[in-house]
């Protein structure tokens, strides 16, 4: 195998997510009455970017072989907080944005501390911390409302030159700023290594605690970015418990579709972004295909189940049953 082959192999999961997205989105826009227009793309981008942020956050944690079931609650907390503080003078707005992101980061760090120093099992630690974060959101926003700075909100959710959706550009910028350096940093390597083989990572002298902390902190930060985008998209905040759990579960579905391994150590946030976009586009197909409303939930369930089961086709090629068990 030459270098290219190795590189392709590494990127295979991500590339296939990209390909599936392009195909689905083409199917969607081809059947959309408004076609591949700037508005349609903008709408899809705004909706997709929210989940993409949360999914990227989840990716960091899942790479360490953990799971964060509080991402949805942090997302909602950020949304509610933004609806309170991202308003007023430009200075106040900037400060508000910083406060929202800082809060997300703090929630994530707290999760990380529970897992790293508290040595708690992530799944239940984040169920519990999620309840706390949701409680805080509810305290901030006992009922929906708020008035998010609309200049900024419109700018971030609107269209740029040539109808390019601004939200997608924001996502792209964040990914370039965060993911690319992360992937080439030692701590990034440690995140992958912890998820792949924790004991080996420790024996190799990698900073495994810092890696875990960073992963959970990033999950909080990215979920908060998602919540902030939601505030920009809706100009308001709402402490919706069902929305919180929807985003948590959808983020898991999205990253799996995007090729991130739930066992840790493999996958990329780029894949997760496209996984999120695929997931959203599947939902959009409801819009272009004329399905009876009572059949719609079943349709979505079946497509989701099908999408996550696709990977098992490889099993048919497996000749040594031991390989079924992975490592």
């Amino acid at each position: 195998m030459n270098d290219l082959a190795f590189r392709l192999r590494d990127a295979r999961a991500t590339l296939s997510a990209v390909a599936v997205f392009v195909a689905l989105f083409a199917l969607y826009t081809l059947n959309h009455p408004a076609g591949f227009s700037a508005n349609v793309v903008q709408t899809a981008a705004n909706k997709g970017v929210l989940l993409a942020f949360v999914a990227v956050g989840q990716t960091f944690v899942v790479l360490t072989a953990g799971i964060d079931l509080s991402v949805g609650a942090v997302f909602i907390l950020a949304n509610c907080l933004a609806s309170v503080v991202v308003t007023g003078s430009p200075g106040a707005v900037a400060l508000g944005v910083a406060a929202v992101l800082g809060t997300g980061l703090a929630c994530g760090l707290a999760n990380g501390a529970l897992v790293v120093y508290g040595r708690l099992q992530p799944i239940v630690a984040t169920i519990a911390s999620g309840a706390i974060y949701f409680g805080l959101a509810l305290a901030l926003r006992p009922e929906p409302g708020g008035d998010v700075d609309s200049t900024l909100a419109d700018a971030v959710t609107g269209q740029l030159a040539f109808g390019v959706p601004a939200s997608a550009v924001v996502l792209l910028a964040v990914m370039l700023l965060v993911w690319v350096p992360f992937r080439r940093s030692l701590i990034g390597r440690a995140v992958y290594a912890v998820g792949s083989a924790e004991a080996s990572a420790y024996l190799s002298g990698l900073p495994i605690r810092r890696a875990r902390l960073l992963a959970y902190a990033s999950a909080g930060l990215f979920s908060a970015m998602g919540g902030l985008m939601l505030a920009f998209f809706t100009y308001s905040g709402e402490a919706s418990a069902s929305n919180a759990s929807t985003y948590t579960l959808d983020s898991i579905a999205a990253i799996v579709i995007g090729g991130v391994s739930l066992f840790g150590g493999a996958g990329s946030a780029v894949g997760a972004v496209f996984g999120a976009l695929i997931f959203r586009t599947i939902n959009d197909l409801l819009f272009v295909f004329d399905l009876d409303p009572l059949w719609q939930p079943l349709f979505l369930g079946l497509v989701l189940l099908g999408a996550v089961s696709l990977g098992s086709a490889r099993l048919l090629r497996l000749k040594n049953r031991l390989e079924l068990f992975g490592s």
């Binding site: 195998m1 270098d3 190795f6 080439r184 940093s185 390597r189 080996s200 190799s204 990698l206 493999a266």
Partner: protein, 518 residues
Amino acid sequence: MIEPPTAPAAAGRTPPLLALSGIAKRYGATRALDGVDLDLRAGRIHAVLGENGAGKSSLIKCMAGVVRPDSGTMALDGAPVRFADPAAAAAAGIVCVFQELSLVPDLSVADNILIADPPRRFGLVDRRAQRRRAEELLARAGAGDIHPLALVRDLPLSRRQLVEIAKALARGPRLLILDEATSALTARDVASVFRVLKDLRRDGLALVFISHRMGEIAELADECSVFRNGRNVATFPAGTRTDAQVVEMMIGRDEAHAYPPKPPPVPRDRPPVLEARRLGWAGRLHDISFALRPGEVVGLGGLDGQGQRELLLALFGVLRGLTGAVLVDGREAALGGPADAKAPRNGIALIPEDRKTEGLMLPMSVRENLSFASLDRVSRGGVVDRAAEARAVDAMVGLLAIKAADLDVPVASLSGGNQQKVVLAKWLMTRPRVVLLADPTRGIDVGTKADIYRLLRRLADDGAAVLLYSTDYAELIGCCDRVLVLYGGRVVRELEGTAITERALVSSALNMDGTEAA
């Protein structure tokens, strides 16, 4: 902290690079280390020998900062040191190739080799430079054929071992410790690793080398220390004691590691219990036919990786898409999986290659592991009869002299050799008629090895057929009535009786007759 080395002693004995004194470490009731003193010097290879569970791995884990000793001191270049974690030890120049590999399977070879300290630019990993370094280091470890971008996950165990060595070299160690680093290697790879180690000695490194293979120690070591029950019982210059003396020190009794005598050959016309007919699989096994008769110990020889493991897995029903037939008692056996293979009608047992991932459920108790494969023998209608279970387990613990503080401790807390005995015992409890073994003495001390050899012979005498794959030629010669030599997934030679010699094994392993290379 660490002080610069004092002026090198001009003449006579150099002062130790690392000096241990009074190191002790307990695990619950087990004294893994009990007041160990040891001096390690630059430019010397120091071999550490000892039975399984003697404390060798515990010792080096203390040196490498993996575990913290309960008491005792370590001095590096004369100055006392304590290591908080492996990274701290590595920073001080103490690097270890652990018995349990420390590679990360989902990262590339290059990432692994330079895992904690890659070349960087602007704070980020410089992948190009890293790759160049990795290539150099692989070449130095005698593994230039491994692609630096390959995932470790995709490499066979023996290759991973070489990557591990390259990784250790990358740290620029002053003291390099190898804990049974050669146990998974083929003879050829061992030779190249030895060349590397000798180079390093010449470069002035201190080396610690742990192995159960006496031959390797004879070839390599300058000094030897023998451990028993957590104590360093003797340290002496290499070559000053005979093998028999060393073994006696190790096991504390006068018992050379001997193979049990072989009985007269099993008559050719005795009906085979298991027969393979033209087995083929996935381009890795071709046209393999042979028969195993009750009472025989048959060896599988050849270079590592010639299909021996696959053959064992095939006979155990693990491989899908097998062609040809497996007959048990003359009838074709449908082996859909280990459950079928194990069923009394077939009575096949497999001692798998990797005890930690395939042989044992490490966190479960010794007792549960022992009885697990034969639970149906001690249960009625799916309900376990605990008294019957206890009887069966106790019998096995006695038979194999398994050393465990208590049968309810996790099997993970046993030493390697005792873990291996548990795997063996677990299968003996099923009263198999065919026993397949994949390199069962890897990393096993000589005393335990002898126990295992005797056991295999006894099984055969009791009417079982044994198929033993070993990477150790001496073992094949000492134990087997017949040896099938595999090359490229085919049986290229069958040796029998006195024809089983090292020379014959080596030449047929290399397929020197060039019969039917694949």
